[in-house]
Amino acid sequence: MLRLILSRIGLGLATLLAVSVVVFVLTQILPGDVASAVLGQSATPETLANYRHELGLDRPAVIRYFVWLFGVLHGNFGVALTNGQTIVDVLGPRFKNTLFLAGYAALLALPLAIGFGILSAIREGRITDRLANIVALLAISMPEFFVGYVLILNFAVNHEWFPSLATVDSSMPFWARVWTVTLPAITLTFLVTAHMLRMTRNSVLSTMSTAYVEMAFLKGLSRARVVTRHALPNAASPVISVIALNLAYLVVGVVVVENVFTYPGVGQYMIDAVTKRDVPVIEACGIVFAGVFISLNTAADVMAIALNPRLRHPR
């Protein structure tokens, strides 16, 4: 089992390296470069050449990539081309912000999704089940900026219960921070709950048709007990992978929400870097995002293996 896990982690690292190459190549294909993006409409050929030389952009792309990779392997993401800030110093607090928001949203969404998913399965076809389904579908059908604006209009503008801007800073006390990011966290909850809820429900229901569940019913157990004790553990592995996917989405896919609430997360930083062609920053954000995705997926795999002995001995 240890070997299986180690090989998973090795695979993850290889994927990260591949991601870094892909991101680098893609940014090379993008039209324009950092010099023309920063200087904008007011650039002249001469100032552009000066700026490019200053940034070392006149060196070949391959060399720039390896210089960058060498730095990263030594824990150094380098400095942003546009303003010379150390990328780690900027990315670090922003990544913590993103994780905080994602964690808050997960804390709201996970119990909701799994709880109502199981409840729906127990009461299949009854009013609770249908209601949960309808609400979940409604929530997932609305674009996140719309949900965000509706929440802002109701809870920040009409009733001033929460701030409409979720700007947090490092000096903020914990509970003030929680209060500030409540609206974006709820918006994200709307977004991810439905997916996990439906997956939990369906996965539980599909194990309900297996022979051992039938056996449990024949023993005279109640539906609730059959679902929680017999069906659920066996339904766990697809649910875990869906949860991992959604948690990853909470971290990497919140750009729109960050924008609506002006939240200082990684998404906004990456967008700014892309529009300014700041390759080291794009690379750093890309690596961090890929890292989150890969580690969550690896964790999901490992958990599924741990929960289900059959996966430990693949035939």
Binding site: L30, P31, G32, A35, S36, A37, V38, L39, G40, Q41, S42, A43, T44, P45, E46, T47, N50, Y51, E54, A80, T82, N83, G84, Q85, V90, Y149, I152, L153, A156, V157, E160, P163, S164, L165, T167, D169, N259, V260, F261, T262, P264, Q268, Y269, D272, A273, V274, T275, K276, D278, V281
Partner: protein, 522 residues
């Protein structure tokens, strides 16, 4: 603190006539109806409070190096921490800032500037001529500065005394003080290079800088300008999303915002806690530009057909919700005192457009638009297409990516959308865009007669003559060049009712981006 006039025989170019500006604003019932605050602006200012600004126009790549300033946020924090050399007053005239006064000889090539005395930087260093020389040289020679072109006529900057600087120009320019009022040309101590820890003479010193998130500054407590800098500190937050910005203002999370969305400004004005300040016709110039040397657009008849075939008012009403002025195909704002008032406007005339189009041999028109050019460009393009259809002219409108628009489409596509920001002088506005050799001659229009007029007007010290020359220059552009400048935008700022002293300014929004030093809390 008004400086000596650079030319004794006449005032330098005004950007806008202030009375026109204010009358226009009140006619729309915008500034003075809801602006009870402004009416009481004479109330004595008082100290205190933290001004919270919410602004668009910045990104995570911002820095405190004035050579890289490109948008509103940087200009705003730049003016909080640094001082400029020359300030533009509310009436559009150049007044002394760190350069207290100036003098020039006829021909306007030799200039002498007096450096203000008794000013100290945040670091404690006293301002002298060396600092000014160094700060100007940041934009000269081997530099990445965006102001390089603006100051390219300078051949020599030297220290004449501890508080005097001499500047020599290769060609005369009566507007040099206006060039020095540019927001890139800010003053730092001699040999200063540590842009992460800016040192300036501004009212506020930097406390905390998180580009893309917020900029926090604190009052130094001893600002040299009388009656300025009332706040204890300023918190500038980046709010790129227009809805988030207006909601933050309405819900009281910020005290002032820039760039309200014309589409929702009506909603913002309904709030009892908010004032909206509209500055008419000093914002961006929105245009479609055709390359005069491209086969489809070589004929002037074709270009005139494009000018008569656009329904300007309809675009203004629909795309800009009325918050723009009709443009007459030059980048000079109708609010400018040198604007060619008597030039007949190119009003929408499908029949005339149709006959001009036939005369030109019915070329094929293809327009490239993008939201990356300016917000609303796509809608404007579609409305243009509709208007031309009534003249029997087919315009193909192609939507292109906003990403990399300025490097891939602009100056390359035969016909595309573009905007031009306001420039401090008519000379700059015209010579950066329309002079034959201009780097950004985005219509490839070349007319020696026009070049001559603009070059001569630059050193003309007789204002009446100058006015006439600029009118002639605009006439040449309007009737020959490839630019269809259909609208000049208004600036829409939002202020909380407790912010006092906010007024429209002829140059930029948010009180010429000096809101932090010009306004105060009631």
């Amino acid at each position: 603190m008004k400086a000596a006039d650079p030319s004794s025989s006449g005032p330098s170019s005004l950007i806008i006539d202030r009375r026109t500006l204010l009358a226009g604003a009140s006619a729309l019932g915008l500034s003075f109806g809801p602006l009870g605050g402004l009416a009481r602006a004479a109330d004595a200012p008082k100290k205190g409070g933290t001004l919270r600004l919410g602004m668009e126009g910045g990104s995570a790549s911002d820095s405190f190096d004035p050579r890289t300033f490109a948008d509103s946020v940087a200009i705003n924090y730049g003016y909080q921490v640094y001082n400029g050399m020359v300030e533009i007053g509310d009436d559009g005239e150049a007044v002394g800032e760190l350069l207290e006064s100036w003098d020039t000889k006829p021909g306007a090539t030799e200039w002498v500037f007096n450096v203000r005395k008794g000013i100290t930087f945040h670091s404690g260093k006293t301002l002298d001529a060396d600092d000014i020389v160094y700060s100007i040289n940041l934009h000269r020679g081997d530099t990445k500065s965006a102001a390089k072109d603006l100051l390219s006529a300078i051949t020599d900057v030297k220290k004449l005394g501890p508080n005097q600087v001499g500047i020599t120009l290769s060609t005369g320019n009566a507007d040099l003080p206006y060039n020095l009022s540019d927001y890139h040309v800010l003053v730092v101590p001699n040999n200063f290079t540590d842009w992460a820890h800016p040192d300036g003479t501004g009212a506020y010193k930097l406390e905390h800088f998180e580009p893309g998130v917020q900029v926090v500054t604190k009052n130094t407590g001893h600002y040299w300008k009388p009656n300025r800098a009332w706040y204890d500190g300023v918190e500038l937050r980046y709010i790129p999303d227009a809805s988030a910005r207006s909601q933050a203002l309405i819900s009281g999370q910020v005290d002032a915002v820039n760039r309200l969305d014309p589409k929702t400004v009506g909603f913002v004005m309904k709030s009892p806690k908010v004032n909206v300040v509209q500055t008419k016709g000093t914002g961006n110039r929105f245009a479609f530009v055709a390359l005069c040397d491209d086969p489809g657009y070589t004929s002037n008849d074709a270009r005139m057909a494009l000018k008569y075939g656009i329904d300007r008012q309809k675009i203004i009403d629909t795309v800009f919700k009325g918050y723009a002025q009709v443009g007459n195909d030059t980048t000079i704002s109708p609010a400018n005192r040198y604007y060619a008032q008597n030039d007949p406007p190119h009003t929408y005339d499908p029949d005339r457009a149709a006959s001009l189009y036939k005369k030109a041999g019915s070329p094929k028109f293809r327009l490239q638009v993008s939201e990356g050019a300016f917000s609303g460009a796509t809608d404007a393009g579609v409305l243009y297409q509709e208007a031309l259809k009534k003249a029997g002219i087919d315009l193909e409108v192609v939507r292109v990516s906003g990403d990399g628009y300025w490097s891939n489409v602009w100056l390359k596509a035969p016909f595309c959308a573009v905007y031009w920001g306001g420039r401090p002088t008519v000379d700059l506005q015209l010579s950066q865009t329309f002079i034959s050799t201009a780097n950004w001659n985005d219509t490839h229009w070349r007319d020696p007669k026009f070049d001559k007029i603009v070059t001569e007007a630059r050193v003309e010290l007789d204002d009446a003559k100058r006015k006439q020359m600029y009118a002639e220059a605009q006439h040449l552009i309007a009737d020959n060049a490839g630019m269809v400048c259909f609208a000049v935008g208004d600036y829409l700022d939002g202020y909380s009712k407790k912010v006092m002293g906010a007024k429209p300014h002829p140059r930029y929004d948010l009180c010429d981006e000096r809101v932090a030093e010009k306004t105060w809390f009631s």
